[in-house]
Point group: C2
Chain length 452, copies 2
Amino acid sequence: MIKNSTPNEITTQVVQYLKEAKRNELQLLLDELHPYDIANLYEMLPDKHRNRFLSFLSIAQLADILQELDKEQQQNLLNKLDAKKAVHVMDEMDNDDLANLLEDISPENKINFLAKMKKEESQVVQDLMNYPPETAGRLMTNRYVWIPQHYTVKDVMVKLREYAEIAESINYLYVINEEKKLTGVLSYRDLILSEPNQQVKNIMYERVISVTVDTDQEHAAQIIQRYDFLAVPVVNHDHVLVGILTVDDMIDVLMKEATEDIEKLSASGKDIDFDTKAPVAAYRRLPWLILLLFIGLISGTIVSTFEETLEKVVALAFFMPMIAGMTGNTGTQSLAVVVRGLTTRDINKVVIAKIIFRELLVGIIIGVTCGILISVIAYIWQGSPILGLVVGSTLVVTLIIGTLAGTIIPLILHHFKIDPAVASGPLITTLNDILSLMIYFGIATIFISHLM
Amino acid sequence: MIKNSTPNEITTQVVQYLKEAKRNELQLLLDELHPYDIANLYEMLPDKHRNRFLSFLSIAQLADILQELDKEQQQNLLNKLDAKKAVHVMDEMDNDDLANLLEDISPENKINFLAKMKKEESQVVQDLMNYPPETAGRLMTNRYVWIPQHYTVKDVMVKLREYAEIAESINYLYVINEEKKLTGVLSYRDLILSEPNQQVKNIMYERVISVTVDTDQEHAAQIIQRYDFLAVPVVNHDHVLVGILTVDDMIDVLMKEATEDIEKLSASGKDIDFDTKAPVAAYRRLPWLILLLFIGLISGTIVSTFEETLEKVVALAFFMPMIAGMTGNTGTQSLAVVVRGLTTRDINKVVIAKIIFRELLVGIIIGVTCGILISVIAYIWQGSPILGLVVGSTLVVTLIIGTLAGTIIPLILHHFKIDPAVASGPLITTLNDILSLMIYFGIATIFISHLM
């Protein structure tokens, strides 16, 4: 019945059920919805209906929608539940999502919640939280199926049936030996294509690709992306299987890293989205802008040292914005290519040498092309062939330098394990500003007698 | 044996086998590798060994590695195969990958290949290629399992065993009625938890989320991301099931779109990566730079109209780079927030009004803060309180305008269905350059008598 309803129609229907306290009807409707849809529904509900709505949900449903909400909404929802129910919901949550949720709760509350949870659940979550953020260990789940290698296909089928309900991913079955070390993997497909009394040991695939607990989340996500996996196993330093990473969590990692690259390249400050309050957004953006303000003043100081040249030929000021802008742009272009390349492929010396040489060539080509173009334009506009020559040769030099700066600076940062995206667009733009003005006024000062 | 070997060791071993023509040993080794690894191995092999290597591979292996290579390498590999073998390989490839490969082949070759392929395979591929690029129809695969709704769980198990080998994804089983319309979905998990003689109709989940053949690829990828799906079904306009999209392809879409956003925001030109040749990269970057050169000249023209003001107070030029730079930066910051927000969430009028108002507030806060700061600095540096006032009030106005421009321009483009990322960083920077110089010299000209 609700198969083709819009979210608005569903919300209206839910409000109706809530007003009439029709608990069973509501449950029937919710059974047809995905957790993501229920979470959306919750967000669309007017605040006055939310308490009753939550009281009508099962513990499992509460856990499901809690996992779909953002952090602010999660805290909000938890505050609406009484402490006992909240603890039940936490027991039910996937441990990786719970670890993530608890991260932002006040220390007293966190201890309080963990103490009241089931002992085994709270132990698992505390173990996860001991791994550094953004590592495989921190993001892994323990809801997967592992099988001893001496099992037969039939044994596996029995175990699977038992665990299917709680496992987050049953696409791959990880095989372990007596010491719990990871020795192989079986896909679901292999299983249905095998005879019931075959031994797992003989049909499993032995070259399992795994990550260790301290593997960086981005690297783990790249492995899933490259191999088209649905999950990847996580082992500790003794190669003992301790968890798995699932593709859905890894997509979120990849998207988050891409957004971070964009934020850093545009120096827009961390974690600003449509829901961030204005003072918070301003506070996060201001440090960058104030830094850039001072760097901008350095450009000004450079211009001021050439005050004499500028006083004699004010027309030099007309080309300042164009030269600074173009040099900054070409640097940003190179930067974007390098930053994206660094995140999507493996880097070695040969690759680095090739990319620097490539960008040098690119710089020469675009420098000479734009330089000739602007010489002609400047000559026609201001009627001075020397001015044309000064502006044109400046652009040749600054575009080559700008391109190289945009290439080499992020590579150097990468070498020193600093995220190259922090060599953000505006920073390279401003650095190139300073360089280009020095070169421009330097060349102009040499030719000053011919310019007047 | 090769379980713990490095890629280099494996390559050395493979070269050895190739030299000694040990075909069987090579096959045993390859059996332990993933397609991605075999493709990497192929790329690492010296060119002189590649022909023999390819001749040792099975058709299925050739198809597998072809799917992992980039377009240039694909063409290269196909050229090494004789035409008959190439056609066999194409028959074996996933049809979505094949459609992608054929896109870049010369029209004669394409017709030639398609004519020689198995009729049903070539028909499927041609159907796919009729859908516009970047739509669900273009990217879907037909290697999935569908089941009639009158089947029992036992029937499904039999069919599954038959199709497991060719299906790309068996995580979800899509249920259709007599008219082949999509009516439900069953997860693998549901299946193992059900009794053998239950009817599919009674255990399936009816509110299936699907996309249509003309759904934009990015939207389809977002659905997979939001719902944590492993695949999503594709239907035509009669709601007949025609294919599925798998999560691995959708990750690639999401990553490509993120890279495109970065490319556009930095105006770095399309499709430039580490392997692009210098003249090609320069050719792709030049149009943007030449456009920006002319926009930069407009800034120059504005400065030139205020030549008289500038001649009287040359010190005004010292603050030009800072004012233009800061205004450009604040615009880029807003732009990044808006572009990223537009791709990751649903937009309506309330959201738009909220974000514009938020950014206005942000602009006022950062404008006033930076304005006061620079007034003091300009006063101390140049010893003129009026100059401080001119520079400071300019910055207040331009930062507010810059912030709003960076917010409103991408929203307007989005409204007219133009990709907001083309309102790229450098373009907004340059527009803000022009505005800020006009405001700066405008204010300065009003106060000119006090400045001298």
